[in-house]
Structures are given as structure tokens and as C-alpha cells.
Amino acid sequence: MPADQTPVDQRTGSTAESGTRRGQRDAAAAALADVPTEPGAAKPDPILVADGVVRQFGGLTAVDVGHVEIQRGAITALIGPNGAGKTTFFNLLTGFDQPDHGTWSFDGKPLSGVAAHRVARLGMVRTFQLTKALSRLTVIENMRLGATGQRGENVFRALFGSIWRSQENEITERADDLLARFQLDAKREDFAGSLSGGQRKLLEMARALMVGPEMVMLDEPMAGVNPALTQSLLGHVKDLREDGMTVLFVEHDMDMVRDISDWVIVMAQGKVIAEGPPDAVMGDQRVIDAYLGSHHDAALTEEEEEAIIVEAEEALARERAEKEESS
């Protein structure tokens, strides 16, 4: 989409911005420099601390996180193969699901049993893997909805426009600024349902910012976004750190993880198996094993290949024989 591409050029073309960005990035890197690269490492200034969080679905243990801390003001990536429990862990942290055991706290406030909307009001706002644009509301209404503490959201005060009109104008102004920043201002009056997939991701992120969060949790922000818009989204995530926010995101795209994250936490089969700076983590044997299986780097020789084929054929023959016996 041409509308998606123009903002990318503006963003990558701006060198001044990337200069300040590097400043915050260095600060986050310096803070995390002395942190040992092992699962459950203590951070100098954690904003989110989780302890013994376990979630079981019947016999399946989806999440079993011993201890994890998220550094304030940094971009932390949560990666792991499919089914590792990343999204479930996200749901638990944000109150969208309740764990079987465990405690976790945000900014020193315990969050166990706290409802999702209260978690959001405390300053921890999430987005969703499958984008949740409110289709039959306009883009600007989507944005306005995000503002907290609205006087007009009380049913009795709602009846009297004079009570909430001035606040509504302030909210609209703030929403328009954010829309301009996310290059959605041209779509202001369109239904959110008419936006492209990437624009919906942008809208969801902008809407989350309307809440005024301290920490933003992004569940696969790049899923289904065309490569051109990816760069723009990356820029926006980095901007969040510049504005002093903490970012935790789930992502599969390793290039993106390497590009923007200060710290990476790896999950597999519900557990945190490794953490550390992106480059260190990606070379970690446990991580490679988790993603690719432990024998992935042994070359497949011709003899081995033949052996495997023979084995498979034998297995097939056995199966056939058994079938004939039983019939």
C-alpha cells in the first residue's frame, strides 16, 4: 500500500531522531551490562517481577516461570518457539488469565488476582496478537476510548455534555497528536475496520498510548505487517523507550529482536530457559536447541540418510505386517 510506504521513508530519513534514540539505548545497555546472562537474573531496577507463576490447562503445564525481572526503561523481547507459553504468560501478567500459583508485581504493587482493567489503569497496557481494532468505531473514537479518568464515562454525568465536553476536547487534541505521530491522521474519520492490517497495528499501539502507560506489552507487533511498514513500527517501538516507557514484546522475527531489544528472555515449554543481550542469547546453545532441536547442526551424511531410509522402510513393513495379521 503506498500510504504505508511514505511514512517509512520519512522515518528512516531522519538522522536527528536516531541520534537521541541511541542515547536511551546506551543507557539501557549500560544498566544491563553487569546483569548475569542466566534465567531469572536480578536487574538493577526492575519494574515487573514475577515469582513461581504456574498455569496449567488440565495436565498440560503451559507456563511455569520460576523467577523473572523486567528492567525499567528498556526494551525486553520475549521469544521462544511456538507453544512455548509466551502469550499465556502475557495473559497472566496482564490479568487476562489467572495462574494456578505464583505472585507478580508491577512497580512494587502486587498484581495477583487484580482484574485486567485495573492492571491497565496501574500503567501496564497490552496489545493483542490478533489486532483488536474496534471495527465499527472511527479511528478517532478508538483513540478517545483509550483515555483514562474520563468524566463522561459515568452514566449520570454522561447525560450532561457540559460536564465532559472540555475534557473531551483535551482528549481529542492528545489523540490527534498521536495520530499524526503514527501517520494515521488522514484516516481520522474512517471506520477502524476499513484500515489495513499494518494500520490496525499502528492504531492499536497509538490507542494503548492514550492510556498513558508506564509499561507497554506488545504481543507480536509485527505479525501480518508488510515489510515496508515493519520499519515504521520498529521506529515507533524505539520511540516508546525514548519517552521513558518500558516495553516487553513477544516476537518471532529475529532480525527485529536483534535490532531493537536491549534484553531478550527465551521461553520454551513454559519455562524461561535463557536470558541476556540479544547477541549473547542467539548464540546460546540452549536457545538453539529449543528452536531447532539438539541435533540440528550435525550434517546429514549419505550413509546416515540411507540408514534413516532403511529404518523407515522397515518400520513401514512392520506396520503392514501387523495390519495383515490383525485383519
Binding site: A120, R126, F128
Partner: protein, 330 residues
């Protein structure tokens, strides 16, 4: 064929008692279904709360009518809370199941032999509307133009009824243009997204259920006062479905649509009824095809057919915005 009588009947149906009752019921449903996305299939139970509120208070316990109105309103609020507390945390379809069952429970309870002394069994209650007609400001007479018009009792009910319709529409309009209404519409689209933005979805759904239920119960008051008698079987499931028809006819999530929907619904019913009956009487339609007693059922088939055609050719209803329907909601 008496064209004048057919037209006058249709016109009277268009502003008559049923139109007012179903407009109010549908205004309530519009808050539930149109704005919040709550599938309430028990609107008739809310109407029954109001009707039996005044019916039993006045006819059984011999208390004043205004007390009955208060009891009716409280009963409607209570019913909304009862239905909402267990179901609103669950998926939308649970509310539908629970409300349709609750409406039947209400109807079967008030018509049961056990409570006959209180609710009057299948005969219902009569003789509770004297207080209402004793304050009728219209002197005895006929109010209208030519043969179109109403006598003093119906015109008094209609005056009160249409005032309530106007006030309810204004109320809904004021609410839905506010940030509160925006939260409801957002819940209709995706409640998890609304939750993630720090809104207490459960509380808003409950408020919507209560407000829509109370608006719908106003229809129950007007129905009871207009007929001066109530029977349990008026509050069957078809009453709820008529109200839904009215709402969808006008187009959900528009302030005026329940009113226009109700007018069209009852005008069309009156027209088909009268035209068919006159045609049979005049011999234009042979009684071997359809006779007068079958017309009553046949006109509802026509309503069903026209609703199907509406869904095919104008799915957004009369006032709806085609663009909204074109969007894939999920």
C-alpha cells in the same frame, strides 16, 4: 373494498398502543443489542415485571398505582441484576440462553395455580388502572380528524406513551453521544480490547442491561394501562421476537430506529390484515385459497417474508449505514 377504512385503521395502528409498547421495548433492546451487543432474549420478562408490578400492587394488595409503578421499576432492575450477575462474565451466548429461559420462568410463574391469588393465574389481573384514568385531563369525547381519531381513554394512554417514547429517545441519544456510550459501542466490537484500555467491562454491561431493561419495562406499563388488564401469555417469547423484528427493521444502533420500526411493523400488519379481509369479503380472493380466519396467521408469514427480503436487500435496516455492515466485524 373500503379503502378509507383500511387507511384509517393503518394510520391508527401506526400511532396506536401496540406501536408505543413495542417502540419502548425495542428502545430497551437497542441499548442491549444495538449498542452493547448483549443478546437479551427476555425483554418480555422486563415488560411483565412492570405490568405485574402495577397489576398485583393495585388489584391484589389494593395499594396506590404510583407505588405499583415504583415496584415495577424496582422489579425490572432486580431482574436485570439477577440475569446479569451470573452471565455477563461469560460469553455473549450464555446471556441469550439465560434470558430466554428466565422470560419463560417469569411467565409460567405468574400463570401458575400456586400463585393464582397473587397473580391471577392465566386470567391475569384487571381493574388496576382506575387511578390512571381518574387523572385523565381529556374530557369525554372524540379526538381526531374525521373518522380518524381516538376517544378520551386511548388518547390519554397514547399521550403518556408517546411522551415516554420521546423522553426515552432523548435519554438514549444523550447517553450514546457521550463517552459512556462510546464504551458500550466498543464493548460491542471487542470487550477484551476495552478491558485492556482500563475499562470495567462487566460494570458497563450491567449498567446497559439495567438501563435497557428499565426502558423496556416502560412498554409493559403502557401495555397494562392501555388494556386495563394483563394476562401472562402476552409476555411470551414472541413478544421479544416482535421487538427484535421492530429493532432490525429500523436498523440497530440508531436512536430513532425502534420508533420507526414499530410504526412500520404495525402499519404493515394492519394493512395486510385489512386488505386481505376486505378482499375476501368482496370476493376478490376465493375462500378456497384463504379465508378470514387464516388471515391472522398469514399476515405474520408476510412479515417474515418481508424481513427476509429486508435482510437480503437492506441488511442495515432503514436507518443503518451500509458501510458498517460491509465491515467484517472480527
Amino acid at each position: 373494498m373500503n379503502v378509507e377504512r383500511i387507511l384509517i385503521n393503518a394510520l391508527e395502528a401506526g400511532i396506536g398502543l401496540e406501536t408505543v409498547v413495542f417502540a419502548l421495548a425495542a428502545i430497551g433492546l437497542n441499548v442491549h443489542f444495538g449498542y452493547t451487543g448483549l443478546l437479551n432474549f427476555g425483554q418480555s420478562a422486563f415488560m411483565a415485571m412492570a405490568a405485574y408490578g402495577i397489576g398485583t400492587t393495585v388489584a391484589t394488595f389494593d395499594l396506590p398505582l404510583w407505588l405499583g409503578v415504583i415496584f415495577g421499576l424496582l422489579a425490572a432492575v432486580l431482574l436485570a441484576l439477577l440475569l446479569g450477575i451470573p452471565t455477563l462474565r461469560l460469553r455473549a451466548d450464555y446471556l441469550a440462553i439465560v434470558t430466554i429461559a428466565a422470560a419463560e420462568i417469569v411467565r409460567l410463574t405468574v400463570r401458575s395455580v400456586t400463585f393464582e391469588e397473587t397473580f391471577g393465574g392465566s386470567d391475569g389481573r384487571q381493574g388496576f388502572s382506575n387511578d390512571f384514568y381518574s387523572i385523565n385531563p381529556y374530557p369525554e369525547g372524540f379526538y381526531g380528524v374525521g373518522r380518524f381519531g381516538f376517544s378520551e381513554r386511548p388518547i390519554w394512554v397514547l399521550t403518556v406513551g408517546w411522551t415516554l417514547v420521546a423522553l426515552s429517545c432523548l435519554f438514549v441519544f444523550l447517553l450514546m453521544r457521550s463517552p459512556w456510550g462510546r464504551v458500550l459501542k466498543a464493548i460491542r466490537e471487542d470487550e477484551d480490547a476495552v478491558r485492556s484500555l482500563g475499562k470495567n467491562v462487566y460494570s458497563y454491561k450491567m449498567q446497559s442491561l439495567v438501563i435497557g431493561g428499565v426502558l423496556g419495562c416502560l412498554g409493559g406499563f403502557i401495555l397494562a394501562l392501555g388494556r386495563s388488564s394483563i394476562q401472562p401469555d402476552i409476555f411470551g417469547t414472541e413478544t421479544t421476537f416482535f421487538a427484535y423484528t421492530v429493532l432490525i427493521l429500523g436498523g440497530a444502533a440508531r436512536v430513532a430506529s425502534p420508533v420507526v420500526g414499530a410504526m412500520i411493523f404495525w402499519v404493515v400488519l394492519s394493512l395486510t390484515d385489512n386488505v386481505l379481509n376486505e378482499a375476501i369479503d368482496a370476493g376478490y380472493v376465493s375462500t378456497s385459497i384463504i379465508n378470514n380466519t387464516q388471515v391472522g396467521q398469514f399476515r405474520f408469514m408476510l412479515v417474515g417474508l418481508s424481513l427476509m427480503l429486508l435482510m437480503i436487500f437492506r441488511p442495515q435496516g432503514i436507518f443503518g449505514d451500509r458501510r458498517e455492515i460491509a465491515l467484517d466485524a472480527r
